[in-house]
Amino acid sequence: MVNRSNKLILSDVPLFIGGIFLMYLAIVDETLFNFILQNVHQDQITVTIATIIAAATPMFFAVGFVKKTALRRWQTIYYYEKLILNDVFWVLAIILLNMISYVIVVEEGIHQFNIPILAGCVLFSIYLVIHSFKIKQKQFQKEKTLFCRVSFHYHW
């Protein structure tokens, strides 16, 4: 049964923390912003685009993870609701986190101030991969059980 309450359950805590971490990236971190501006000519349009990408992308995913965990009863727009139930959402979030990690390691260089961000990105993306595999495994088990029951009834 799908949990519809707004109460945060223990198994959802890592996802919720991940959502808060993505919010932190959107508000404070300038890795993506600097990375974009380093590779393009700086003018009013490019600075605006860099701001939008650097702030909106992590926030987009942050809302999804917080909605999935702590704000289940808060309804989002239909297409977003469909997206966060889909595997694509997980994959895109993992891509974003890995991209930030890549920029930190290869472009910026690791230092004492971006180590927490790098650690957060790596840990959360690993968690997302493991979590999505677990979900897939559960779904497979369910389908298998259902198939066994149906075939049993059909047989008798």
């Binding site: 700086q42 605006t48 860099a50 239909y78 004492q112 101030f113």
Partner: protein, 352 residues
Amino acid sequence: MKPEVKRKSQVGIGFAILVFAIIISYFSVEEIDAQEIPQYDIYLVIDVSGSMGTCLDGDWISTCYNVGVTNDSPITFAKKAAIEFVDTFQLDESSNHRIGLAIFHGTQYDPANPISKIIVELDNDSKKLKDGIDTLYPSGGTAMGDGISISTQSLSQNARPDVEKIIVLLSDGVSNMGSEPRLAAGIAKENNVTIFSVGYGDFADVQTLKAVASVTGGKYYDAPTGKDLARTFNEIADVLISPVSHYSSRILILLAIPVLLFIPTIERGFTTMMEKVQDKPVKRNVKKSISKIDVGGSICKKCNHTNRSTSKFCIKCGDTLGGSICKKCNHTNRSTSKFCIKCGDILGGNVR
């Protein structure tokens, strides 16, 4: 409204909010007039280790006892680039900017005491600076951290109060003596110094230079050849005297995303709030509607009270409404009853 139409309208409203936020963000990126460009106190911190020269008696990999300077030596290109950089700022007595020169290197005989020193203090005298640049001569190891430390110290002591403090750091190798460059950059950050680092050649410690720039909110530049070096220094000058402000407001974008995604919840909350505000008129309407119902309501046969048309029992006496009255005992029974519940007589019929 059909759900499909409602969904599409929500997406439309969401896009409208996002476009509005983007437009505001676009106009918050300010184009600065030439007069409003911030004032800078800049230190050119140049690596003058042996590798910046040319090995005249062998190669760097085996042994090199005689380091000299030729037209192709890295230091020659570094000097040219530094002079062009100084020229870009057009320093004179009325200039808003001041530039200083610092070097770092070390000696293999005493690696514990690297040599990092200020050659020219912060000044707006370009001739003095160019003379200082001309005197640079390569020797010894690389003490990058010390170079950053000494220029940070000078900037924190001598920089003007309201100017931006900048270090332009050039290095072609790995820091092998003196303090750790990343720690020195951390101290620079604490003193509000921004470092722009340039990695020259194939053996530059790119990771460290990137980290050093990133810590302080600066930028790393790659200059593989001598010709690239001058271009890179010009680029740094352009960034500093850029007409576009680096400031941009992201707050609106940050607010727009959750708002546009949670439109249905906001809409529902808004509707509930409006209903609460309009609480009293709603009650009045209810009273009116009851009186309307009363007109066509069921009248109790026992007490003549007018009840709702949907009521089964009288709200006043509790008697069954619309029921069958027993002719024998006058008891009101249910309309579906066939016998009186009191006397047992047959209802609604003249059977007897």
